[in-house]
């Protein structure tokens, strides 16, 4: 499944909001001022370490920052720290701790952009774990946050991501008819941003949903278009999911040879990235085509 992830709209904290709040807090007394100023300094250093790829160093700086800030009211700064710690925890594979950190960030922040970025990362986690109801809840929350932000490309991107994630979650739950509108919306929004690869992936999801619903002709047309687009853009790694869906449709049409060729191409791509689960699924599908029902 082509779960969505993009580098183009990587979240950066809005330091204007953070600084405004910190200024207010620092006015209270000199001791608080020293603490918050120190916190801001160490936060900046921590972010620099993130940018350098020093996750371990960044983590200890964020924790140091958080230790002094508790109860002072510099919530946005705390939220940013929790947000970054959450991302680092995901990166090191401690998903449980990562989710706790992102939840903590969401409790502290009033910044809808930070909330959207957190929801998006949490969605990715739940999709990977196949926890589809969680994805739907996060999509609802994201839509509420989106209502609070002004129009922009970033807003369109988050809308598209919400649409795509909903479509994928519904596809995973075999709710194919519920996939169609979301996938179409995602495709349109990604296209408007010039994100052709993401648009093609959305089209692929739409194609697979159509094929699963039995709309073979339309599904195959969409699948072929998505395949051509992704190939043209050099995104071969996104092809197997669509090829597997196409293969299933071709089997239904009695085109066993065509289906097998699709699956073989999928296997070849899976091999390049050593995706064993993918190889196994696609090869089992070929075996399924080769076997006949009356063997047992």
């Amino acid at each position: 499944m082509a779960t969505l992830e993009t580098q183009r709209f990587t979240f950066k904290p809005n330091m204007g909001i953070v600084r405004d709040q910190c200024d207010g807090v620092m006015e209270r007394d000199p001791a608080t001022k020293r603490t918050v100023r120190g916190g801001l300094k160490s936060f900046r250093r921590a972010v620099e370490r993130v940018d350098r790829g020093d996750a371990h160093g960044a983590l200890s700086m964020f924790i140091k920052t958080l230790r002094g800030l508790g109860g002072l009211g510099a919530n946005e700064l705390e939220a940013c720290c929790f947000f970054y710690v959450g991302f680092i925890m995901f990166a090191v594979g401690d998903d449980e701790e990562a989710l706790k950190m992102l939840h903590a960030a969401l409790l502290k922040t009033q910044d809808p952009w930070l909330a959207l970025a957190a929801y998006n990362r949490m969605t990715l986690h739940h999709l990977t774990k196949n926890e589809c109801p969680e994805v739907e809840k996060l999509a609802d929350a994201s839509e509420k946050a989106l209502a609070r932000v002004p129009e922009s490309d970033t807003k369109t991107y988050y809308w598209a991501a919400v649409d795509y994630n909903r479509a994928e979650a519904r596809y995973r739950r075999s709710e194919y008819s519920e996939v169609l509108s979301c996938a179409r919306a995602a495709q349109g929004r990604f296209q408007s941003l010039g994100m052709e690869a993401e648009a093609a992936k959305s089209l692929g999801l739409l194609a697979n949903a159509q094929l699963s619903l039995g709309n073979i002709e339309a599904g195959l047309a969409d699948a072929n278009e998505a395949i051509a687009l992704l190939r043209g853009q050099g995104h071969e790694s996104e092809l197997p999911f669509i090829l597997q869906g196409k293969a299933a449709a071709l089997v239904q049409q009695g085109d066993r040879r065509g289906a097998t060729e699709c699956l073989q191409e999928a296997i070849a791509i899976y091999r390049q990235c050593d995706n064993i689960t993918g190889i196994n699924e696609a090869l089992a599908a070929i075996a399924g085509i080769e076997a006949t029902d009356d063997d047992w």
């Binding site: 064993i276 190889i279 196994n280 089992a284 075996a287 399924g288 080769e290 076997a291 063997d295 047992w296």
Partner: protein
């Protein structure tokens, strides 16, 4: 205990009323000085590897080897090694020239030739032709009984064979008395496939009939024979009525004495087992322990001539022809290491062979071997990756489809991962391929794998039907391993249905077969199944003992996934037995292994049990 009563030829009756069964031991004294099984395997291992670790891994598993005497079924059979040689490098079994190439009989062969001439019947398990040569030297006519047709004819009417010499395990480069030559391997039973067909065969067993026919009216004298071929000759002797009795000469260097009771250190050996079995029947069965020549009054001092034979020269020639390159030696070494269940090392060696250095046929052999071995890997990702490549190979090897074999093993790997949909798809395709090729052996493999999938999916009754069909096929084909797996699966399916008595019977049958095959991995699984059945009977102690045995076999076979399951089950039983420390050790090791294998669900199950144990321990402390 022994009595002081001497034994001698006078006790053994006269030739027309006597039959001799001669084993490899009679050809060891010079001039032939032929090798026994262990000596042969040692020479072979010396030829194919210089690595001391690999040598030890193999030689420790020989019958006389060091470290595996605690368990049944751990030893490396001569038959299994010959099977590997035949499969990998020497399909015509020219190897047997080491035996058949010897032309210098000793006093034992001459003695047997003379006894034949005086009306005795001689049975032998040997591949050398030294008794025939001795007969021709002393001018005694003989009738060879080797092929199935000859065995059947002998059983029908023994009188039509003058001075019958029955070669129980077949022969090589035979010369009949009238001078007719029969080159090559004839009815050779020294391969594991033959062991299976003899042990499991339900059709006519001419071997048993011939032995029964001979012992029906003759006293049987056993010489130079260990009795360790527990698949054909020994069971026939055990089953024979022996109305005229039997004398077994258990050769050693002392003056011969008749043994009344089995010495404690030898009571498990075949002659003493026979002694105990027949004592109850009040038959005239005795064991004489001492030098064979003295026991049979054979004069070994007279010079009978004959140039001494150096089998190592013949072996070296054979080796030059069949193990001429490093690739050939690796091909055989990889196979033999798989026999002693060093699967990872075996795969590493086989994968290191450049295919270009093998003939096309041997490349196929290599791929077939790898196909089967990948199914044993604990690392399922590696297994899937490698098997998926082999699944693209459309070649057939001796009627076996590589693609079918790859699909079958992919099904096994997926069943192990509880991925029953994928397993079913692979199995369906494999079955179709094997059916088209008429490969009954592989069809039976598919059927019991199907049973395994159905058991895993909770469809016990359908599983039992599929497994039963597979067992029938395996028995018909003499497929030891397949039948063993089938019995084990049947035990599991029946136990899941609550039919514990029947399940236990099948588990015992599986244990017997895997012991015969020498499969530690199979024995581990079979003992685990038995433990599972006992656990269902709430016999925690019995179950724990079975799981402990399973663990020992699985550790030795490096079957890590099975080992982790057995450790978990042992932990479970030990909790029931309130042996908390032992339970903790078992569960912790199970978790460590499962972590290493990436078995997350398994880790979760074992951790849950461990948490429960800790709570119980805390309660106990309070």
């Amino acid at each position: 205990m022994m009595t002081g009563s001497p034994a001698g030829s006078a006790n053994l009756g006269n030739p027309p009323e006597t039959a001799y069964l001669a084993g490899a031991g009679i050809s060891i004294p010079p001039p032939p000085a032929l090798p026994g099984a262990t000596a042969f395997i040692e020479a072979l291992v010396g030829e194919i590897t210089g690595d001391p670790e690999q040598r030890r891994a193999i030689l420790d598993h020989t019958l006389d080897g060091g470290s595996n005497t605690r368990f049944r079924g751990d030893f490396l059979r001569f038959e299994a090694v010959v099977s590997c040689i035949k499969f990998a490098v020497d399909p015509d079994m020219e190897l047997l020239r080491i035996y058949s190439g010897c032309g210098a009989p000793n006093h034992y062969h001459h003695h047997l030739a003379q006894q034949l001439g005086r009306g005795a019947v001689v049975l032998t398990t040997n591949f050398d032709n030294l008794i025939e040569i001795a007969c021709r030297t002393v001018g005694v006519d003989y009738s060879l009984v080797v092929t199935e047709n000859e065995l059947a004819a002998f059983c029908e009417d023994p009188a039509q064979f003058k001075n019958p010499l029955i070669k129980l395990h077949g022969g090589h480069d035979l010369t009949y008395a009238e001078g007719r030559q029969s080159p090559g391997a004839i009815n050779v039973r020294a391969t594991l496939e033959q062991v299976g067909s003899i042990y499991l065969g339900r059709g006519a067993n001419h071997l048993a009939d011939a032995i029964s026919s001979v012992t029906g009216d003759r006293h049987l004298v056993v010489m130079g024979y260990s009795g360790c071929d527990d698949f054909d000759v020994m069971p026939c002797i055990m089953a024979a009525d022996l109305p005229r009795g039997l004398t077994w000469i258990d050769h050693d260097d002392q003056h011969p004495e008749t043994v009344k009771d089995a010495p404690p250190d030898r009571s498990n050996l075949p002659p003493y087992q026979l002694l105990l079995a027949h004592r109850r029947k009040r038959r005239d069965v005795s064991v004489v322990r001492g030098t064979t020549s003295a026991a049979l009054d054979i004069d070994t001092d007279t010079d009978i001539g004959g140039e001494s034979f150096d089998w190592t020269k013949v072996f070296a020639e054979w080796s030059q022809r069949h193990l001429r390159s490093a690739a050939h030696r690796k091909l055989l070494l990889g196979q033999i290491l798989s026999l002693v269940e060093c699967f990872d090392e075996s795969i590493a060696i086989l994968e290191s062979i450049p295919p270009s250095e093998l003939s096309e046929e041997q490349q196929d052999v290599l791929n077939v071997a790898l196909c089967s071995l990948y199914g044993h890997l604990s690392d399922s990702s590696r297994a899937i990756r490698s098997l998926s490549v082999l699944a693209g190979n459309d070649r057939e090897v001796d009627g076996v489809s590589l693609k079918g074999l790859a699909y079958y093993n992919l099904a096994r790997v997926n069943t192990n991962l509880d991925q029953f949909n994928e397993a079913s798809a692979y199995l369906g395709a494999a079955l179709k391929i094997f059916k088209r090729a008429g490969d009954a052996g592989r069809i039976s493999d598919c059927l019991h794998e199907h049973g395994r999938i159905l058991t895993g999916a909770g469809q016990g009754e359908r599983a039992a039907r599929s497994i039963e069909e597979s067992i029938r096929l395996c028995e018909k084909l003499g497929d030891l391993h397949g039948a063993g797996v089938g019995y084990g699966e049947m035990a599991r399916a029946l136990a899941a249905e609550g039919r514990l008595d029947e399940a236990e019977t099948y588990a015992d049958k599986a244990i017997n077969l895997f012991a015969l095959e020498g499969s530690g991995e199979g024995l581990g699984i079979a003992h685990h199944t038995r433990g599972y059945i006992l656990a269902q009977r709430c016999d925690w102690a019995g179950a724990a003992a079975e799981f402990t045995t399973a663990i020992a076999y699985e550790r030795s076979a490096q079957a890590m996934l099975d080992l982790a399951h057995s450790l978990h089950s042992l932990g479970d039983m030990c909790i029931g037995l309130k042996e908390f420390d032992r339970a903790e050790r078992s569960l912790e090791e199970a978790i460590e292994i499962k972590h290493g294998l990436g078995d997350k669900d398994g880790v979760a199950r074992s951790e849950l049990l461990l948490r429960m144990l800790k709570q119980l321990q805390a309660l106990g402390t309070e």
